[in-house]
C-alpha cells in the first residue's frame, strides 16, 4: 500500500513536471497573450476547480474553443496534482516564469478575469508556505535579466497583498504547518527550520517592499494585520480543541510554534508596540472577565481553569527568542502603564503571560529580576508590578504591594540591587533617571522587609550605609534626596518609631519615589473639574460669613472710639449684640479715670506720669568700630555673641575701606574663613550668619583684592581647612570676581591732548584756532541782526572758568566742581576685574593636581575641583574681551585639557569644565583668536580645537543629559567664535593685500574649523 502510494505519487509528479515544462515552453514561444492564457489555463484546470466560461469571454475564437474543450479532472485527481505541483519542483519552476517573464511581458495584456483565474490562482490558492518563499525574493529582483524590474516588483507586491491581507495567508501557513505536523510527514524538529525560515520571510516583507508600495505593505499596517489574523486563528483553534488537548502540555503545537516564531520576528524587527497593541486589549479583556467572574480575590486556579489563559501561556512559551521576549515584556509594561491598568489587572496580565515561562526559563526570570530592576527604566507603577510579580510572586491585595510568604527572592533581589546601588561608579556613571529607578526599586522592596530579614544578610546593611553616605556627598540635590529617602526607609525598617529624616523636605509620610522626574500627565477629567467648581461654590458661602464676622469683630474692637458710628452701620438685623462689648469702651475709659484719680491722690505726684518704659538691649551689645576688634572677636570662638556681632559689622567696616584695612586683610580673611558659623548660630539661623561671613569676605576681596587673594589662595590648598571652607573660598572668589566686573567707578577722563599741533586742523580756516584751555566749547558765529553785510564775522565760544574764578549761580551747589567738569572730564569705567584676573586665577590653578594631606581635588574632593573650575570660568567671563582674558586662556586651557579633568568620572566636574570651556570661547576677542592663528600661536589654536573635539566627544558619549546640552551649546559657541575669527582674518587679509604684504606662511599651522562650511584657516 505504502509502496503503491509512493509509486503513484512519483508518477503524478513526473506528469506534473512534464505538463509544467510544456506550459513554460508554450509561454516562451507564445506570440499572443491568448496563447499564454490558454496554456496557463490548461495547467490551472488540472490544479484548481475552474469554470472555463469565466475566462473564455475575453479570448479569441480559436483559443476559446481550446479553453472550453479542456477536460476537467475529478476532485481527487486535482488534489493529487495539486500536492505534486506544490510540494515538488514544479511550482518554483513555473512561478519563476510567471513572476518574471509573464509578469513583465504578458500580464498587462491579461484581461482581468483571466488574470485572476489563471494567473493569481497559482499563488492565492497554492500552498502558502511555498508561495511565500518564492514570492518574497521577487520583491528585490536582481536586474541582470532584461526584465521590467518595476513591473515584476509591483506584481509581486500585488500578489503578496492578495495572499496575506485578503486571503489570510499567515493563517493558511499556520494551518499548513499544523496539518503537516499532524500528518506526521515531518517531525517538529524537521519542521522547525522551515518554520522559522518562513516566519523570517514573512516578517521581512514590509522591509523588502519598495517604499512607494501600497500603505498596506507598510510595516505597521502589515504586522498589525498579521498579528490579528494569527491571534484569531489560534484562539479559534484553542476554542475548538477538546479540553484534554488544551491541558495536554506535552503536545507542542506546531501552529503555536509558528505563531510564536512570527511574533518574535515582529518583535525583532522593532514592532513589538504594534504586536502588543493587539495583544494587550485581548489579554486585559480576559483578565477583567476572569476577575469579574469571581467575586473573591482572584486566585491562580481561576485563571488556570480558563482556557483562554492557557492560550496565552502557550503563546509565550512558543516565543523562544529571549530578545523578543524582552522587547515584548518591556512594551507590555509600558503600554499597561499608558492604559492605566490597576495593580491587580497588571499583575494578572503579567501572570497570564509569564507565569509558566518565568518558572521554566531562567533567562526570563533574570530578565525580570535583574534587567528590569537594574538596567531598564520604567515608570514607577511598572516597577511596582515587576516587584509584585517577579520578586514577591504573589497576587497583590488592594492596589498595594503585598508580600508573600516566601521572602528569599525579595532578600536576594534587595541584596543584588543594593550591591550595585552602593557602588560609587554607579553614582558617577549612571544617568539620573536610572539611579532614581534603582533607588525606587530598593526603597519599595525594603519597605516590605522586616528587621529580621534585613539582619539575615550583613552585606545589605553595609551596602546601604555605604550607598547612602556616598550619595550624601553628591553635589546634586536629587541624588542626596535619594540617599535620604533610602535612609528613611531603612531606619523605618530598623525602628519604625524612630524614622530618620536626613532632609527637611521629606517629612510627609509617603515618599515620592519618582523624585519628580516624570511629569504627571495631564488627564482631561471634566467631571472632576465640575466637582471642584461645586466645591468652591459650597465653600464660598461659609467663607463669606467668616469674613463678615471678622469684620464685625474689628468693628467691635473699635467701638470704644466710634461707637455711635458703628451703631448706624449695623447691617445684619440678626446680629447678636452683646451689651458687654458695647460697654467695653466706656468701661475701659472708667478704668483710666480711676487710675488718674489714684494718681491725683497725692497731688504732688500728679506730674509724675511715667514715660514709655519699653526697653531693649540692642544698644547694649558691643559694637565694633575697628577691624582689629573684629578680628579679635572672631578669634574668640567661645564668645558666640561676640563673633556674631563681629560678623554683623564686618562687611560694613571692610567696605568703608579704612586705612587700617591693608594691615589686617590677611588676618581678617583667615579668621573669617576659619570661623565656624554652624557652632555659634542659633538653630535655624546658620544661613544668615554664613551669609554675613561670606558677604564680609566678598567685601574684603573687592576692596583689597591682592592682599586678600594672597591669603585665600594659601588657605585654599592648606591642609587646615575642610572641604566646606574650600568650597566657600571658591564661592566667594566667584562672587567677588563678578562684583568687581560689574563695579562702576568714576574716574577723570583722560584728556587726549595733542602733542604735535597740526596746521591743518579739521575746521574751516576762517574760524579762530581751536587751541585754548581744555574744556572750551566750539566756536559759534555771533549772529548779528541789522546789517546784511558785515565785514567782520565775530565768533564766540564758552570757556571753562579759570582756576580761582568762582562762578556764581542762582542756585547754590555744595560743590566746587562745575557741572561742566563733571560731564566732560569724568567717565564711567566698568569692570575693574581684569587687572586682578591673574591674581584670582593663576595661584588657584597651580595646585589642583597635587595630592596632599587633606587635599585631594582630583579624587575625593571633586566638588571642590568643580567649584574651582567654575570659578576660573567665571573669571574668564568677567575678564572677557579684555587682553587679560587672552593671556589667561592658554594656561586655563592647559588645565582643562589634562586628562584627569576633562574626563573626570564625576559629572559635576565635567559640567564645570564645559562651563569653563564655553567661558573661554565667549571671552576671547575674535581679533586675538585671529592673530593667534595667523601668528601661529599653537597654544591657543590647539586649545580651541581641543574644545571642539572634546565637546563633540561629550555630545556623543556622555551619559548625562545636562552635560550633553552644555556640550551642544559649547559647540555652538565655538562655531560662533570661529566665524567671528574668520571674519577678522578676512579683514586682515584684505589689509595685507592692500599693503602688498603677503600673509605669513605659518598661517596654515593653526586651524579653525567652521562647521557647515569647508573653509579652513
Amino acid at each position: 500500500m505504502e509502496e503503491e502510494a509512493k509509486r503513484r505519487r512519483r508518477e503524478v509528479g513526473s506528469r506534473v513536471l512534464d505538463k509544467v515544462g510544456e506550459v513554460i515552453s508554450a509561454i516562451k514561444t507564445a506570440k499572443h497573450v491568448d496563447q499564454v492564457i490558454c496554456s496557463l489555463h490548461s495547467l490551472a484546470v488540472l490544479l484548481f476547480p475552474l469554470d472555463p466560461s469565466l475566462i473564455s469571454g475575453s479570448l479569441d475564437e480559436g483559443y476559446r474553443e481550446q479553453v472550453l474543450n479542456a477536460n476537467i479532472p475529478s476532485a481527487e485527481e486535482r488534489e493529487e496534482w495539486w500536492q505534486a505541483f506544490y510540494r515538488g519542483a514544479a511550482f518554483p519552476t513555473l512561478a519563476r516564469v510567471l513572476l518574471f517573464d509573464v509578469a513583465s511581458n504578458w500580464l498587462p495584456c491579461f484581461p482581468y478575469s483571466a488574470k485572476e483565474r489563471v494567473y493569481d490562482a497559482f499563488f492565492v490558492s497554492g500552498l502558502s508556505t511555498e508561495v511565500v518563499q518564492i514570492l518574497v525574493p521577487c520583491l528585490q529582483p536582481n536586474g541582470n535579466d532584461n526584465l521590467d524590474v518595476n513591473a515584476v516588483q509591483s506584481n509581486s507586491e500585488r500578489l503578496l497583498l492578495l495572499c496575506f491581507l485578503e486571503n489570510d495567508g499567515v493563517v493558511q501557513m499556520a494551518r499548513e504547518f499544523g496539518s503537516a505536523h499532524q500528518s506526521s510527514d515531518f517531525t517538529s524538529a524537521q519542521l522547525k527550520p522551515v518554520l522559522s525560515r518562513v516566519a523570517q520571510i514573512v516578517a521581512s516583507i514590509p522591509d523588502k517592499a519598495r517604499p512607494k508600495a501600497s500603505t498596506s505593505l507598510s510595516s505597521h499596517f502589515f504586522f498589525k494585520h498579521i498579528t490579528l489574523q494569527l491571534l484569531d486563528e489560534v484562539q479559534e483553534r484553542v476554542k475548538n480543541l477538546p479540553k484534554e488537548a488544551i491541558f495536554n502540555e506535552s503536545g507542542s503545537d506546531v501552529t503555536m510554534l509558528f505563531v510564536g516564531e512570527t511574533f518574535s520576528r515582529i518583535c525583532r524587527r522593532g514592532f513589538s508596540d504594534v504586536l502588543l497593541g493587539e495583544v494587550i486589549p485581548q489579554v486585559l479583556g480576559d483578565v477583567q472577565w476572569c476577575l469579574s467572574s469571581c467575586s473573591d480575590p482572584a486566585t491562580e486556579e481561576v485563571f488556570e481553569a480558563n482556557p483562554r489563559s492557557q492560550f496565552w501561556l502557550r503563546m509565550m512559551e512558543a516565543i523562544n527568542d529571549s530578545y523578543a521576549v524582552e522587547r515584548m515584556s518591556e512594551q507590555l509594561l509600558h503600554q499597561l502603564a499608558i492604559e492605566q491598568a490597576t495593580n491587580i489587572e497588571a499583575y494578572w496580565t503579567l501572570w497570564i503571560l509569564f507565569n509558566r515561562v518565568i518558572k521554566n526559563q531562567p533567562s526570563v526570570r533574570s530578565m525580570f529580576v535583574y534587567k528590569f530592576l537594574l538596567w531598564k527604566v520604567f515608570p514607577i507603577c511598572c516597577l511596582r508590578w515587576i516587584i509584585q510579580f517577579a520578586v514577591l510572586e504573589c497576587p497583590p491585595v488592594a492596589n498595594s504591594l503585598t508580600k508573600g510568604c516566601d521572602a528569599h527572592v525579595l532578600l536576594d533581589t534587595v541584596q543584588r540591587l543594593v550591591a550595585a546601588w552602593s557602588k560609587r561608579e554607579f553614582v558617577q556613571s549612571a544617568p539620573v533617571e536610572q539611579q532614581a529607578y534603582v533607588t525606587a526599586a530598593i526603597g519599595l522592596c525594603m519597605e516590605l522587609m522586616s528587621k529580621e530579614e534585613l539582619d539575615k544578610s550583613k552585606d545589605v546593611m553595609h551596602s546601604i550605609l555605604q550607598g547612602v553616605s556616598c550619595r550624601l556627598e553628591s553635589p546634586t540635590h536629587l541624588i542626596r534626596k535619594m540617599a535620604s529617602n533610602i535612609a528613611l526607609v531603612f531606619s523605618k525598617v530598623i525602628d519604625p518609631k524612630n524614622p530618620l529624616y536626613l532632609d527637611d523636605s521629606c517629612i510627609d509620610e509617603t515618599i515620592d519615589w519618582e523624585f519628580g522626574l516624570t511629569k504627571p500627565e495631564k488627564r482631561a477629567l471634566p467631571s472632576s473639574n465640575e466637582n471642584d467648581e461645586a466645591k468652591t461654590l459650597t465653600i464660598s458661602e461659609p467663607e463669606k460669613d467668616l469674613n463678615y464676622s471678622r469684620n464685625n469683630g474689628i468693628g467691635r474692637n473699635n467701638k470704644g472710639e466710634n461707637k455711635k458710628a458703628s451703631q448706624f452701620k449695623l447691617v445684619d438685623p440678626d446680629e447678636i449684640i452683646d451689651p458687654a462689648t458695647l460697654n467695653y469702651g466706656s468701661a475701659s475709659d472708667r478704668d483710666e479715670d480711676d487710675e488718674a484719680c489714684e494718681n491725683s491722690d497725692s497731688s504732688s505726684d500728679s506730674s509724675l506720669q511715667p514715660y514709655d518704659l519699653t526697653d531693649d538691649d540692642t544698644d547694649l551689645q558691643k559694637k565694633f568700630t575697628q577691624l582689629v576688634d573684629v578680628v579679635g572677636a572672631l578669634r574668640k570662638s567661645d564668645d558666640a555673641d561676640g563673633v556674631e556681632r563681629a560678623l554683623d559689622v564686618a562687611e560694613k567696616l571692610v567696605r568703608a575701606s579704612p586705612d587700617e584695612l591693608t594691615y589686617v586683610v590677611g588676618d581678617l580673611a583667615r579668621t573669617l574663613v576659619q570661623v565656624r558659623c554652624s557652632d555659634l548660630a542659633v538653630e535655624g539661623e546658620e544661613e544668615s550668619v554664613e551669609e554675613k561671613r561670606q558677604r564680609a569676605l566678598i567685601a574684603l576681596l573687592v576692596t583689597c583684592p591682592f592682599q586678600s587673594l594672597d591669603t585665600l589662595n594659601k588657605l585654599l590648598y592648606s591642609p587646615n581647612v575642610d572641604v566646606s571652607q574650600r568650597i566657600m573660598i571658591l564661592d566667594i572668589m566667584t562672587e567677588a570676581a563678578q562684583e568687581l566686573a560689574n563695579a562702576k567707578s568714576m574716574k577723570p577722563k583722560h584728556q587726549s591732548t595733542v602733542l604735535i599741533s597740526t596746521i591743518s586742523e579739521n575746521q574751516p580756516w576762517f574760524l579762530p584756532s581751536s587751541s585754548g584751555p581744555p574744556g572750551a566749547g566750539a566756536w559759534k558765529e555771533v549772529s548779528e541782526t541789522g546789517t546784511l553785510l558785515n565785514y567782520s564775522n565775530r565768533y564766540e565760544r564758552e570757556l571753562p572758568p579759570k582756576p580761582g574764578q568762582i562762578r556764581k549761580g542762582k542756585t547754590r551747589r555744595w560743590s566746587l566742581r562745575t557741572p561742566n567738569m563733571q560731564e566732560n572730564q569724568l567717565e564711567w569705567t566698568q569692570n575693574k576685574f581684569p587687572i586682578y584676573a591673574a591674581a584670582f586665577m593663576l595661584p588657584a590653578m597651580q595646585g589642583f593636581d597635587k595630592k596632599r594631606h587633606g587635599v585631594d581635588l582630583l579624587g575625593r574632593d571633586f566638588i571642590v575641583l568643580g567649584k574651582l573650575i567654575y570659578m576660573l570660568g567665571t573669571c574668564m567671563r568677567c575678564a572677557s574681551m579684555h587682553p587679560e582674558a587672552s593671556a589667561l586662556a592658554p594656561p586655563l586651557l592647559d588645565m582643562l585639557r589634562s586628562r584627569e579633568i576633562c574626563h573626570h568620572k564625576e559629572v559635576y566636574v565635567r559640567k564645570a569644565v564645559l562651563f569653563a570651556a564655553s567661558s573661554i570661547l565667549v571671552s576671547l576677542h575674535p581679533s586675538y583668536v585671529a592673530s593667534a592663528i595667523t601668528e601661529g600661536n599653537l597654544e591657543v589654536s590647539k586649545g580651541l580645537e581641543w574644545i571642539r573635539l572634546w565637546a563633540l566627544d561629550i555630545v556623543e558619549s556622555d551619559v548625562d543629559k545636562e552635560c550633553y546640552m552644555m556640550a551642544m551649546s559649547c559647540l555652538q559657541l565655538h562655531a560662533e567664535m570661529a566665524l567671528q575669527a574668520s571674519r577678522a582674518i578676512e579683514t586682515a587679509e584684505t589689509t595685507f593685500k592692500a599693503k602688498n604684504v603677503g600673509l605669513p606662511s605659518i598661517l596654515s599651522k593653526g586651524t579653525i574649523r567652521i562647521p557647515f562650511s569647508n573653509v579652513e584657516y
Binding site: L608, Y611, L613, D615, D619
Partner: protein, 387 residues
C-alpha cells in the same frame, strides 16, 4: 489707654572729657557742674551755656578721680576731689577757675573704689524760690545761703535751727567727710578743717550679731554720712559693704553699729539719703534697688520697696532734693527714674553708650546730670518742679 510718651532726650550733652567720667556733682547754689574723670581731670562746667569753665588735672592720670563733691557744708566756693592715689583734695574756686595748688590735701592712703561722702544735712522741703535759678548768678557774691534754703510757710523749727548751724558750719564748724579708710573695711571720718582723722568705724572690732560674720562683709563700697537734726551735731554714717550688707553707725559709738541690714546679694555700690534724712536708696551690683527708711528713734533700717531690674548693676543713685524722684545710673547704659515715694518706674533714659557712673540732681531740682564712661555728661530735665 493712650500710648505713653517716649522718654525724653537729654537737653544738653557736655563733651570734653577724654576719659570715662567717674563722678558728677552740681554746685549747691550756682549753675555749675563738676565732673571728674578717670584720667584725673576735674572739669567745671557752666550748665547754662553748656561750656567748660575750667579744667585741670588735679590727680595723676594713672589713678584718676573717683569723686567730686560740693556742698554748702564745706563752703560755697570749695570743691572736693578724691583720687585713687590715696588723696583727697579741697579746691578753692573763688576766682572762677581751678587753682594750681589745692587748698588742702589729705592723705588718706586709701586705694579703693568707694566714693567719699560729705555730711548731708536735712532740709525739710527744698522748694525753689520764685526767682529763676540763673538770676542767682548775678548776685553770686551777695546771695546768702539763707535765701537759697529759705523755706516756705510750712517749715519746722528744727530746720530753721539747722539752717542756722549750717551757716556757721560752713564757715568754721567741723567739716566732716566720710571715707572708706586705709583698711578698706573701715569707714573713716575726717575733719576737713584740720585734716585729721576723727574716727574710725570698723565692723571688725565689734561682736555684733552672730548671724552676720564680720569677715564676710568685705570692703566698704559705699558710704553716706549725714547729720540728723536729732543728733546734736554728731554724724551718722550709713555704709554699704562688699557682701551686700549695710551698717548704720553713730559716730559717737564707733565700736558697734546701730544696726545692720542686708538687702543685697552683691556689693552695695551706692547709697543716697533723701533730703529729710528719713530714708534713702541703695544700688548694688545685683539686680535690685532698695528703697529704705531710717528711724533714728528705734535705730531701725527697714526696706520699703525692692525694685527688680532687668539688668544688674547700679553704680550711682541720687534722690532729688524735693524727695519726689530718684535716679539711678546703670551699668546697662541706662539712667532710670523712679518715683521715690512709691517706687514705681517713671522713665528709662537711653542716651549713653557706655556704663553710667553717676547721676546727680541740681539743688533747684530742675536739672539732672548723668556721667558715663562714654566720656560725656548728659543733662536732663525731667518732671521739673511746679512753681
Amino acid at each position: 489707654m493712650s500710648k505713653r510718651r517716649p522718654p525724653p532726650d537729654p537737653v544738653a550733652v557736655l563733651r570734653g572729657h577724654r576719659a570715662p567720667i567717674m563722678d558728677v556733682c552740681f554746685h549747691s547754689s550756682k549753675p555749675i557742674l563738676f565732673t571728674g574723670s578717670t584720667d584725673g581731670e576735674l572739669r567745671i562746667w557752666d550748665t547754662l551755656q553748656h561750656r567748660t569753665m575750667s579744667s585741670s588735672w588735679v590727680h595723676s592720670a594713672a589713678h584718676g578721680i573717683i569723686t567730686v563733691a560740693n556742698s554748702p557744708v564745706i563752703g560755697i566756693d570749695k570743691v572736693i576731689s578724691q583720687g585713687r592715689d590715696g588723696t583727697v583734695k579741697l579746691w578753692d574756686i573763688k576766682e572762677g577757675g581751678l587753682p594750681r595748688v589745692p587748698a588742702l590735701t589729705i592723705k588718706t592712703n586709701s586705694y579703693h573704689f568707694c566714693k567719699l561722702s560729705l555730711v548731708k544735712k536735712p532740709y525739710t522741703n527744698l522748694r525753689q524760690d520764685k526767682a529763676p535759678f540763673h538770676e542767682h548768678e548775678e548776685d553770686l557774691e551777695t546771695v546768702d545761703a539763707n535765701i537759697l534754703y529759705d523755706r516756705e510757710g510750712n517749715h519746722k523749727e528744727d530746720s530753721v535751727e539747722c539752717s542756722g548751724t549750717f551757716e556757721e558750719d560752713s564757715i568754721d564748724g567741723p567739716k566732716f567727710v566720710a571715707i572708706a579708710g586705709e583698711q578698706s573695711s573701715e569707714v573713716e571720718i575726717w575733719d576737713l578743717n584740720t585734716a585729721e582723722r576723727i574716727s574710725r568705724l570698723s565692723h571688725s572690732c565689734f561682736g555684733g550679731s552672730p548671724s552676720i560674720s564680720t569677715d564676710k562683709r568685705g570692703m566698704c563700697m559705699a558710704v553716706q554720712g549725714y547729720l540728723p537734726t536729732e543728733s546734736q551735731g554728731f554724724v551718722y554714717v550709713l555704709a554699704g559693704y562688699e557682701d551686700g550688707s549695710m551698717l548704720w553707725w553713730d559716730m559717737r559709738n564707733p565700736g558697734v553699729p546701730l544696726t545692720s541690714v542686708k538687702f543685697h546679694t552683691e556689693p552695695v555700690l551706692s547709697l543716697c539719703i533723701d533730703g529729710l534724712c528719713k530714708g534713702g536708696i541703695s544700688g548694688a551690683a545685683d539686680d535690685k534697688i532698695g528703697l529704705f527708711s531710717l528711724d533714728l528713734s528705734t535705730a531701725s533700717c527697714v526696706i520699703k520697696k525692692e525694685i527688680i531690674l532687668e539688668r544688674p548693676g547700679i553704680s550711682g543713685t541720687s534722690i532729688r532734693a524735693d524727695g519726689k524722684i530718684a535716679a539711678t545710673a546703670g551699668w546697662d547704659h541706662r539712667v532710670r527714674i523712679y518715683n521715690y515715694r512709691k517706687g514705681n518706674a517713671l522713665a528709662i533714659l537711653k542716651y549713653h553708650h557706655a556704663t553710667c557712673n553717676a547721676v546727680s540732681y541740681s539743688s533747684d531740682c530742675k536739672l539732672m546730670a548723668s556721667a558715663s564712661e562714654d566720656t560725656t555728661v548728659a543733662l536732663w530735665e525731667l518732671y521739673p518742679p511746679q512753681s
